[in-house]
Symmetry: C2
Subunit: 395 residues, 2 copies
């Protein structure tokens, strides 16, 4: 469905989503509620989003033919995962297909070196960084940034994958032979001794309007998001700085859609952009229950040309991720749910993933409570009560 | 999946829903969010609930083989529509399948004469009523109840279908030849000169615990729900009476699941049960956004043996139904959405029905606002802005 004259995409128009994980599933929920038709592209048959969509194209997120097929079948295309074939998106856009955020924005974000360079050029605060072409460049970096520093793959990393913290010269020796600089593009970055990790999800609509969800405070474990608290306990000044950065990031991209900006906050109140994602974010799942508009409805509103919704927080909220503790390759059962649901304001989200692996995100729990401390306590107890077990056939 | 020893049904167990309309769709949303597997039985391929479920059995809601198939494929069965084959449900229960509410409760509810008799025997306030076996019985009824009175089909009516208000003797003459008393079971009922129409949705869990959603105030037009306001502006005394009735209704049935009790409130504060439905209800759609737990999550909790959730109202709410204004037998588009979404706290629900008909429910809009008056105003403006139009192919 090609070259609509009008920018507004009305129900029951077809929303194409590249990637069929939990983010795609939660977007599909909102789209289906509002009467849209949803088509998912994902290589895994019966993926989480595929389970609730009208249709799934089973195909690779990198295959230009499959992505083209999705665009041809739908009125607008978005993605829930940034490692998709961005060149095809650019090509399709040039033919008039609607894709938000655009392929060119995605390309800038996919490569962390380019992403940081874009922000740095715009005067936005990022940790100091440099490209590594030769192993000697690391030595140069040490002179400039000192220890520790972070060695990063420029492309393909998420949840901390592809990042290595280098604490001393010995660490360099240890990784030196594994770098394969002729094969992988790599960079080093100054290590920001952050006090807290924050994030903000922002949306930009066709008419350039921007909305800001509340700033969230995140706790990571092994680089994977563990817990999000909202509202973050930050000063007005820090909040202002973060919103200002968010606005400038969106202006740099001059694009449409939803973005998450991950922020490092240092003890003396300095803020740095850690990373930007051009999609809804794990740290804003709390918006589903806690805000007037969820981040997924906001994404839908942005890409369909609707006015953006209110981001007002209706209740303090804590979100905890449910991560796999052991690999389970067959069916698994979620035990302890009864105990968890005894508490008021506890919301269960299980994604329907086909297998469990160590630290794999298989669900999340959001808790609303007038007291943030109480919400956190409930969320921890909920996690403790949860038991993910393989289903053994009854004899 | 038959005769589980334990009453608790854990994700990803299979939830069977008889009927695939909007109520089934909204239940499926909650079940999919919580990680359950959802199978729908409905005769219409690609029905609203089928669009978001894991699987749909395309088959009649009355066909015992299809219902048996659904029960065999799932861990628990419920229904979103009361006119299904209740005998099969009873049979399946006797074989150990879990079906909530039970077939025997459903049978009592399906026949309005039996339903009213059950309540009347339990001392619950219902309008006076009597069975019509001969046309002369109407004359008797007039002597007892006076004019106007309501002539009702005992089975099969909903949204006012099958009900005729008899205002005078002439009206009796007019309908006399169409009654087909040898074919249809009929009753007459005293007409309650109600001041307002209210409803309450209540749930009962395995352990006999009951939760009460807030009392809602409803406006009907041509016997179809038009608008629901919550909280209803009623005295504590009336609220107490209604909750007391609700509790007794649930105790009469001694069953598990969710029930809606429609209430007539007279100008002098008397309350009468109008009708009871053994399922989620249009007048509690507001719970999705306005309550801690939605009526659909509550239904799911009840039938899976989970503790019931908090029914706390988080905001005043108004819900308006979107009804078809003209028949549309092809694809249709929902226009005016952009204008509607400009207002804060407005939630769109379109069911994805395959065709539109006059007064057919195709969606609803819920508005949250600190002021109930403001919410009502916004809901009316939203409806006025909405335009459902056939999609004409672009040339």
């Amino acid at each position: 469905m090609f070259k609509r004259k009008n920018n507004v995409i009305l129900p029951p128009a077809k929303i194409g989503i590249i990637g069929g994980g939990q983010l795609g599933k939660m977007l599909a929920f909102e789209a289906k509620r509002m009467g849209y038709t949803v088509i998912i592209l994902d290589p895994t048959q019966n993926c989480p989003a595929g389970q609730v969509a009208d249709k799934q194209i089973v195909g690779s997120l990198h295959d230009s033919n499959e992505i083209r097929k999705l665009a041809e079948l739908t009125d607008v295309v978005t993605y829930e995962f940034e490692f998709v074939n961005a060149d095809v998106l650019c090509e399709l856009e040039s033919e008039g297909y609607k894709i938000y955020p655009s392929g060119s924005t995605l390309k800038k974000i996919q490569n962390k070196y380019i992403q940081k360079s874009v922000f740095s050029s715009a005067g936005l605060p990022v940790p100091r960084f440099t490209k590594i072409n030769h192993i000697e460049d690391i030595e140069e970096g040490i002179k400039d940034f000192g220890f520790p520093l972070v060695l990063k793959h420029c492309t393909g990393g998420y949840d901390g994958k592809g990042n290595i913290v280098i604490k001393d010269k010995k660490d360099i020796e240890n990784v030196k032979n594994d770098l394969l600089l002729e094969k992988y593009e790599m960079m080093i970055e100054e290590f920001v001794a952050f006090d807290r990790e924050l994030s903000i999800v922002v949306a930009r609509s066709f008419d350039g309007k921007i909305t800001y969800f509340p700033v969230a405070e995140n706790t990571h474990e092994d680089s994977i998001l563990k817990l999000t608290k909202v509202p973050a306990k930050i000063s007005d000044q820090v909040e202002y700085k973060i919103k200002d950065i968010a606005q400038k990031v969106l202006e740099v991209f001059d694009d449409i859609g939803i973005f998450c900006i991950e922020i490092f906050l240092t003890a003396n109140g300095e803020v740095y952009i850690n990373e930007v994602a051009p999609r809804p974010h794990n740290s804003a799942h709390y918006t589903i229950e806690a805000c007037i508009t969820s981040q997924f409805e906001q994404q839908l509103r942005a890409i369909t040309g609707m006015p953006l919704g209110s981001t007002k927080l209706m209740s303090p909220a804590v979100m905890v991720n449910v991560l796999g503790k052991q690999p389970i390759y067959g069916e698994y059962s979620v035990k302890g749910v009864g105990r968890i649901l005894e508490e008021e304001g506890v919301y269960l989200h299980f994604y329907g993933k086909q297998f469990v692996d160590v630290k794999k995100k298989i669900g999340h729990i959001t808790v609303l409570d007038d007291s943030l401390e109480k919400a956190e306590e409930k969320s921890i107890i909920a996690l403790e009560n949860l038991l993910i077990e393989p289903i053994k056939e009854e004899i």
